[in-house]
Subunit: 506 residues, 2 copies
Amino acid sequence: MHVKLDFWRSHRLEYSVLKRTSELPQNMKRPELDYIFHPRSTAVVGTLPDSLNKFKLGNQFIRMLLEYGYKDPLYPVGEGEGDVCGIKIYQSISEIPGPVDYVISAVQSKYVLQLVEECGRKGVRVMHFFTSGFSEIEDKSGQELQEQMVGIARRYGIRVIGPNCMGIYCPESGLAFGMNFSKKPGSVGYLAQSGGQCIIGVREANRRGIDFSKVISYGNACDINECDLLEYLTDDPATHVITAYIEGTNQGPRLLKALRRAADTKPVIVFKCADTGGGSQAAVSHTSAIAGSSLTWDALLRQTGAIRVYNVQEMFDVVTVLQRCPEITGLRALVVGHGGGSCVQASDDCCRAGLTMPLLPPEFRQALWNIYKFDAGNIFKNPLDINPYWGVDKAREALTAVGSWDGVDLILLHSTPEQDPFVPREFQFKLHTDALVGWGEVASKPVVMAMNVNTAPGDDGLPEKSFQRLLDADFAAFPTVVRAATALVRAYNYYRRRRGGRRDSV
Amino acid sequence: MHVKLDFWRSHRLEYSVLKRTSELPQNMKRPELDYIFHPRSTAVVGTLPDSLNKFKLGNQFIRMLLEYGYKDPLYPVGEGEGDVCGIKIYQSISEIPGPVDYVISAVQSKYVLQLVEECGRKGVRVMHFFTSGFSEIEDKSGQELQEQMVGIARRYGIRVIGPNCMGIYCPESGLAFGMNFSKKPGSVGYLAQSGGQCIIGVREANRRGIDFSKVISYGNACDINECDLLEYLTDDPATHVITAYIEGTNQGPRLLKALRRAADTKPVIVFKCADTGGGSQAAVSHTSAIAGSSLTWDALLRQTGAIRVYNVQEMFDVVTVLQRCPEITGLRALVVGHGGGSCVQASDDCCRAGLTMPLLPPEFRQALWNIYKFDAGNIFKNPLDINPYWGVDKAREALTAVGSWDGVDLILLHSTPEQDPFVPREFQFKLHTDALVGWGEVASKPVVMAMNVNTAPGDDGLPEKSFQRLLDADFAAFPTVVRAATALVRAYNYYRRRRGGRRDSV
């Protein structure tokens, strides 16, 4: 068994995306936009003294930057005398003694033209506008204001993020905008037209053990847009996987080119939203995005080799396979779990998602009968229904016995806690988690795990803690078989394209 | 607003399935199999004195029956002198002093022939075999044993449930087989070929505030089968909705007829599993079911008007709409939530599921502008993006203002807690729950709610408690927009068929 375990661990290290992409040239020069993620000083405009209102939006940005360890000079700007988190408030940008690289604007839109002028004179390099009320509003004054604002910024060489967005989360440099985000730098880049999708995406990822190199909520994209960000993340050595939430673009040909180069360089996963009549109606009011037809986008994504998903959960499902499994070289799966009905459903879910399940050959079936002596209550075919109540060690022995079968490319393990009638909930979760980890350790192929925790939520935290145990043991864990199987198929298509050098549908 | 609230409540009471089906003839005679759910005495075979092993399976069945309030005489049968939960153990069925209606067998398969003989002589009417090792095992001795067992039972007029199953859960009569099931009788019948799917189905339903009239885990179906149970539940006045997990049948024509009559009488929701190559491989070893081709089943279900679903979650999603909404008369939806990206995604998810989203007419949009004065950060189109942070009362006012729009048939409310960057988790859950309940109360149309709790699990129980608040306020609540919209479309198709008297695809 220990040999198997070592085999698995070494394979994972050897082949995983994490390792592979870290082989990008070390001497590569920093890509063009890199400076926006490493401001040497930052001002937040739209603060008030904490003594007056510490929940003012600008104050919240200051608090986040301190919380996430931003180390360079930080300046609250706003009305009134006092401090924000102990830092003196300045009345204006021009009053700040040192240079200012980066400005976060949390003021109302009517003040922005004056603010950009002032920032220009100060030598500011990047402005992020949390401020909304621009091209996304129906009144055409919004669009006009946005154009004027960009005009002034361009004159001074200021790059603009937004408006109407959350800005940058970059754990490495201590930039962040949300409570309870991970403080650990990771290898996933995420660009999101929506602030909300940005935040729930980060939360979803963090909860699955995924950390970020750079996250950018870019809103109306009046200057820095999805193309700039894709190009940047393609060249960023710290980013090994690119994820994107996009509502629309007005630079179709450039986006096609950017996506193509990105997908040729590293895995690119796109959650294209505003894909229906209702969605497009929403998107134009949300980020002023022209959503484009669903067919056009489908064609565009297929041509580039980007992986298309339909929500943030699916997005980080694919990242999970890329980061936590060796290369997926085929779709033939051995499906192992416990419970007849669960096994039937898991098999249906796997086959519908695109996996195949070849029948276990007689010699291996015989090996399982030799271990269990009888087959009542078991299924020894593919799927395998192996009862952990008859001993997790025995179940490990069974999985080891089929380990040399070369008829499958991967192993999908599943469990459904709380399907046992007479066993206390706590014990079921413990046993099922022990079983998954125990089985996973003796797997001699790429392995993913689906713990169907959605069948047994509860306010005791047991599902979450059990899921965390799977992550802590370094496995690719999913909350349903459908999601695990779908992610496997998408990852396989990515690897196949990469091996074949082809740009076909994924 | 109070008028609206009353309107909604009265409509719900008037039209809901619950009310409609309770109008079944009161003088109807009890359907044929009814006695199996009301045994006047029960014996459990395969117990040991608690002092030796209180976790013996037979002992667990006794404990469950007592726990769920089974009131009639109860007899543990097994080896050794002593008691189970304070009830004296009998050495054999024949030793029991009074008559025995119902026997639960938890003995090994090698003892069953002798047991059935003995039960026959005792005058037992129904036997449930938890025991496995019959037609579901590969060795043909299993099939032979099952046939012999049924032969003896038939000779004595004993009806058999199973073998290889969990038996009956009927809260009304105190029959049950699983820990932590609801003790409250309800109006949903559930027949399940799989014990595990039976148990997770009950848990899923209970958690959604759904209770059962009768639940039957029927396993290998050697005697009482899916057709018998469908026919029974069709005629059972306590059952208003029929749900079924089916792996296969060997009585195709009879099942078609039974499903047709059932679906003409009340809503029937079928989770047909073993629908793929892998699933069929599993099913034959699980319950010896011959799964049949996916196309055949699709055709069969379409012809009957049964609603097809693909897991137990979807099954009780449909029940939720049937029980907690008035009749769904159309698919035109007003989609209301908070957060631009969430609204775009919700709109896509609704439209893909089959709902339509007509644009809000100018006069109603104007009414919303009059309330909010400006539209930055809002969407007033359909979807509506209404910010509860600007006051739940104001949001209620906004929803009331569009209440007289007759361009939609239903309202879908959604929220995504934890998408706000600077607000503590507890407060987000509270505000979002307040918003959904507050909005729902002023809705003048059938309303469903999707609280995207899967985006924000945590081990603090907040998602579960928030979801429970929606249920306690009597709303149809779902954990994702996709599931809410899909259930609405399925329920609509059911109602449309019922109105039109047509038997077409649902």
